[in-house]
Structure formats: structure tokens, C-alpha cells
């Protein structure tokens, strides 16, 4: 618990987190206002259309993952891994605390990202007279799925940071995977691509596009990815010397 409090203070005590939050809010506002205002009414009829537009808050997962990556990589980049390890030589506890901090910060990113997109999107739909066909269950699945998915990306980010301590390398790997590799695999081989982490976490938000896994399976697969990466990250952290 003490180490978790230390990790949460680390997140709050630099401007990195504020920068990431500002980026998320700017991007979420820009996308939601433009898409909800400019999309033709004919593209906002179905549950899938509306869910798809309002699911943009899940972009918070990228920011949560980046914040998670920073939890480890900035320790290596600035050398604070040395005092951190001296004050908490139990590497399992250190890793678990960082993953928990990553999940908690991911929850905050998720609530802000999806909360903003959903609230503003619904308001613009109402102003434009769009008939909201999403049920309460659809809305709950979308919001909870986006927030939980973002929290899991916080954990995945921490694990990636432990696996690739080089900050630039870890960030590039994360973005290249999320924006390029997964989309290519899903585009050409959707039966495989839907099991990859970005598309698995997308499926937690409901019917945002075809060929995704069912929601429950999406939860299991995303948690599975987080666990596998966490086990690899923790094992490397335990084996690696702090030099």
C-alpha cells in the first residue's frame, strides 16, 4: 500500500500526466464535435452507427497506456529506478504497485475520455434531432466497456514499460502496434485480428463494428493479454540488474 501511494504521487508530481490529460481532452472534444456535427443523418441511424461514434472515448486507452509506459520507462530514463529499488527492493511488490497505479490512472483517463465523448455526443445528437436508438443496456456496455478497457490499457502500458525500459522504444512499439500492426492484421485476417488486444478491448464496448468478438469474450481476451504481458514484465524486472 505504501508503494502504491508512492506510485500515485509519482503520477501526480510531474507535468507528464497533465500533458496526457490535456491531449486526451483536446482530441476527444475535437473528434466528437466534428463527427457528431458533420456526419450525415443517414450515418447516424443504427445502434452500430451511434455506438461507433460515441465509442471514440476509448482513445483514452492510448493515453492510459502511455501513462503506464512512463511509470517504468521514466524511472529508467532518469535513473530514479535506483532510489525506487533501494526503498522497495521487493520487485514483485514494486511491479504490482505500478500495475495498480496504471489501472487506477487508466480508470481516470477512461472516465474523462468516454464521459466527455458520450455527454457531448448525446447533446449534439439531441440538438440535431437524431433519434437515439441505443438502449440503456447499449449505453451502459459502451461506457463501462470503454472505461474498463482503458484501465486495462493502463496495466498493459506498465507491463510494456517493464519489458522495454527504453522510453522511446516502448512508446514507438506501443503506437506502432496499436495504430499500424493491429489494423493491418484485423484488415487482412479479422479472425485472428479480433483476438489482438486493441480489437479485443474495442469489443468490450458493444457493436461498434462487425467481426469483433462478443463483449464477454473481449473482456477475457483483453484481461488475458494484460496478464501475459504483466507476467513477462515482472519476470524481466526480477531478473534484470538495476545498473
Amino acid at each position: 500500500m505504501n508503494q502504491l501511494r508512492a506510485e500515485l504521487l509519482k503520477i501526480r508530481s510531474t507535468r507528464t500526466t497533465i500533458g496526457l490529460l490535456a491531449g486526451l481532452i483536446t482530441l476527444a472534444l475535437l473528434f466528437t464535435i466534428l463527427t457528431c456535427t458533420l456526419s450525415p443523418m443517414s450515418q447516424l441511424f443504427t445502434v452500430q452507427d451511434q455506438t461507433n461514434v460515441l465509442s471514440f472515448g476509448s482513445i483514452a486507452g492510448v493515453f492510459a497506456a502511455l501513462a503506464g509506459v512512463m511509470l517504468f520507462t521514466s524511472e529508467y530514463r532518469f535513473g530514479t529506478i535506483r532510489p525506487t529499488s533501494l526503498f522497495n527492493p521487493n520487485r514483485n511488490r514494486l511491479f504490482t504497485s505500478k500495475v495498480t497505479a496504471g489501472v487506477l490512472s487508466g480508470l481516470v483517463f477512461g472516465v474523462i475520455g468516454e464521459g466527455l465523448v458520450f455527454a457531448i455526443g448525446i447533446v449534439i445528437f439531441k440538438i440535431r434531432g437524431v433519434d437515439i436508438v441505443m438502449s440503456g443496456a447499449n449505453m451502459t456496455e459502451l461506457i463501462v466497456g470503454a472505461i474498463v478497457g482503458t484501465a486495462l490499457w493502463g496495466a498493459i502500458g506498465v507491463a510494456i514499460g517493464a519489458i522495454v525500459p527504453n522510453q522511446v522504444g516502448a512508446v514507438i512499439a506501443l503506437l506502432a502496434w496499436g495504430f499500424v500492426v493491429e489494423n493491418l492484421v484485423f484488415g487482412f485476417l479479422p479472425k485472428i485480428g479480433r483476438f489482438l488486444p486493441v480489437h479485443a478491448s474495442d469489443s468490450m464496448m458493444g457493436p461498434i463494428q462487425n467481426k469483433l468478438l462478443p463483449g464477454n469474450a473481449g473482456v477475457v481476451v483483453t484481461v488475458g493479454w494484460a496478464l501475459v504481458l504483466a507476467i513477462i514484465g515482472m519476470s524481466l524486472l526480477r531478473r534484470r540488474d538495476v545498473i
Binding site: L9, F78, T80, F87, V242
Partner: protein, 299 residues
């Protein structure tokens, strides 16, 4: 006897490079020990193994009888600074200490205490990127002192300090050790810590070359003691009667060859001669150090 630090056959190999080679030594409580060697001798690797940051290839090390990571809340018994740059530049000095103190359950009031102790309270809320090297060294020391430890391990703490900073550090460490606490301080420059330490461990190429008190080291290889007295002629005669060769340094001082401060002081006391200054010459110590480490290289 239980030692504060025990190193037994500590060995570390990185691929083909043998960084530390079968290093064994013990350090008693209440001493200030200089851990000396040229750059690349294996000092930092040894300290990392003592502190559980690096796993030895062979051998083991204990602090207070246990491996570092098996001590209960080790930061409350051992304070360590390994690099002067181990800070996030965008975090304030105070927040850096708060994040460490939280990890071991210490209150923020302890953070303020150590900031005052290292005279950084006025800069505490400034971001570290605006700190001078001396301020960073002191912030590092503050982090080591958070847990009010019984042992301080410092890796090259005088690097980059101005003379005033070196003097501040020397006084601080002397004060710290005067209460029976222990200090292990590494350096690649003997003169930098010669006035601070009681004993030295000298390593070269990962191997222990010498383990002795500073005065023994000086005497063994022909050290020089500078002594000031109002009665230089009488003092020279007294020393020469004991077989010590002396030369006049200037109007106020003699140089006594191949002896120790203790011996010169004892002889002067027996002869009833006042002494104003008694110093082991740093330059000759440095030569001793260089001789020993270059012997290590040639071995």
C-alpha cells in the same frame, strides 16, 4: 564479530568482462571507509551488489548480517546514493523525497527535516532541473538520510562539488559517523576523501589491492607527515633520535618521512613540544594510490 558490511568472494561477470573478481572485505560499525579505485575498477558494481541492485555471479554480501533485500524495510537501516543525477527533472526536490518516504511509510515532516539538514529547504519546491550539481548531491544525500539509517553508502559523492561543498560533505560525514554510525564512500581520487576516511579499501580491475588504515598505508610505502610547531629544531632532533628522517618544509613546518601522524604526535608529546598542525601529505598519498592501482593493472 558481527560486521556492518560483509562481502565474501563477491564476483560479477558481464559477458567476457570480469567487473568484480572474488572481492572479500568486512567493515566494522562506527568507521568511515573509503572505497577507492580508478574509473572502471568495479566500485559501482560492487556497491550495487551490496545493495541488492545487481545479482552477484558468485559470492554474497550482507549488511547487518542479511542480504539487503532481506532486511526489514532496508531504507530505515541503510541510506545510499549511487548517482547524483537520479531525479526526474520535472519533479520538485520535495516531491522526490515525498515519493520515497511514502514507499516506507515515513511522514512528510521527515522530508522537511532532511531538507533542512542538507540546507535545501529554500529550494525544496523548485523543480530539480533548476538545481546545481551541488544541490543535486545534497538532495541525493537527503534521500539517503530519510530513514535515519545506521549505514550510509555513497558512490562518488564529492564528484563535481566545489571546495566549499567538499568541506560541507566532510563535516557532515564526520558528524554522522561520530555517533557510532558507519559510512562507506567510494571515490577515484584519494585526495578527495583522505581527510574524511579512517580506512581504505583499494580495488583495481575488480580485485582488492589493499585494505588498511590511511596512516598504515602511508607508513608502509614511505608516507610524509607535515608538522607545524613553534619549536621546529627541537622537534626535528626528537624525531631524528627515533630514526625518522626530517626535512624543513618552510619556516613553520617539517616534513617527517616514512612515518605516521600518530607516531609524530606521540614523539612530540614525550618531548613536551607543542604542535600546531599534523597532516598526512595528500600528494604523497595520491602517489601511493596511483602506485598501488597501477600495480593492480600490471598484475
Amino acid at each position: 564479530m558481527t560486521y556492518v558490511i560483509e562481502s565474501a568472494s563477491l564476483t560479477k561477470r558481464y559477458g567476457d568482462v570480469l567487473a568484480v573478481d572474488d572481492l572479500s572485505f568486512n567493515i566494522e560499525a562506527g568507521t568511515i571507509t573509503g572505497f577507492l579505485g580508478p574509473n572502471g575498477a568495479g566500485k559501482s558494481t560492487t556497491l550495487r551488489m551490496l545493495l541488492g541492485l545487481a545479482k552477484p555471479t558468485r559470492g554474497h554480501a550482507t549488511l547487518f548480517g542479511k542480504p539487503y533485500d532481506e532486511l526489514e524495510t532496508p531504507a530505515l537501516r541503510v541510506g545510499a546514493v549511487l548517482e547524483a543525477t537520479d531525479f526526474h527533472p520535472g519533479r520538485s526536490g520535495r516531491d522526490h523525497l515525498r515519493m520515497l518516504s511514502r514507499a516506507v511509510g515515513l511522514p512528510d515532516s521527515r522530508v522537511d527535516e532532511v531538507l533542512a539538514l542538507v540546507e535545501l529547504q529554500d529550494a525544496a519546491k523548485r523543480r530539480v532541473k533548476g538545481y546545481s550539481l551541488g544541490m543535486r548531491q545534497r538532495l541525493g544525500l537527503a534521500s539517503a538520510l530519510l530513514g535515519d539509517p545506521d549505514l550510509l553508502v555513497l558512490d562518488e559523492p564529492a564528484n563535481g562539488l566545489d571546495p566549499e561543498g567538499v568541506r560541507w560533505l566532510r563535516d557532515f560525514l564526520r558528524d554522522f559517523a561520530s555517533g557510532g554510525r558507519t559510512v562507506l564512500i567510494s571515490s577515484h581520487v584519494l585526495a578527495e576523501i583522505a581527510q574524511t576516511v579512517d580506512q581504505v579499501l583499494i580495488i583495481s580491475h575488480g580485485r582488492l589491492i589493499t585494505e588498511s588504515t590511511l596512516d598504515d598505508l602511508t607508513a608502509r610505502v614511505g608516507g610524509v607527515v607535515r608538522v607545524q610547531s613553534p619549536n621546529l629544531d627541537q622537534l626535528a632532533e626528537a624525531l631524528q633520535r627515533e630514526g625518522i628522517v626530517t626535512t624543513r618544509n618552510n619556516d613553520h613546518a617539517l616534513l617527517a618521512q616514512g612515518t605516521t601522524r600518530e607516531r609524530v604526535g606521540d614523539i612530540a608529546l614525550s618531548a613536551g613540544i607543542a604542535i600546531y598542525e599534523l597532516v598526512t601529505e595528500g600528494s604523497s598519498l595520491e602517489e601511493v594510490f596511483l602506485d598501488l592501482t597501477s600495480e593492480g593493472v600490471s598484475q
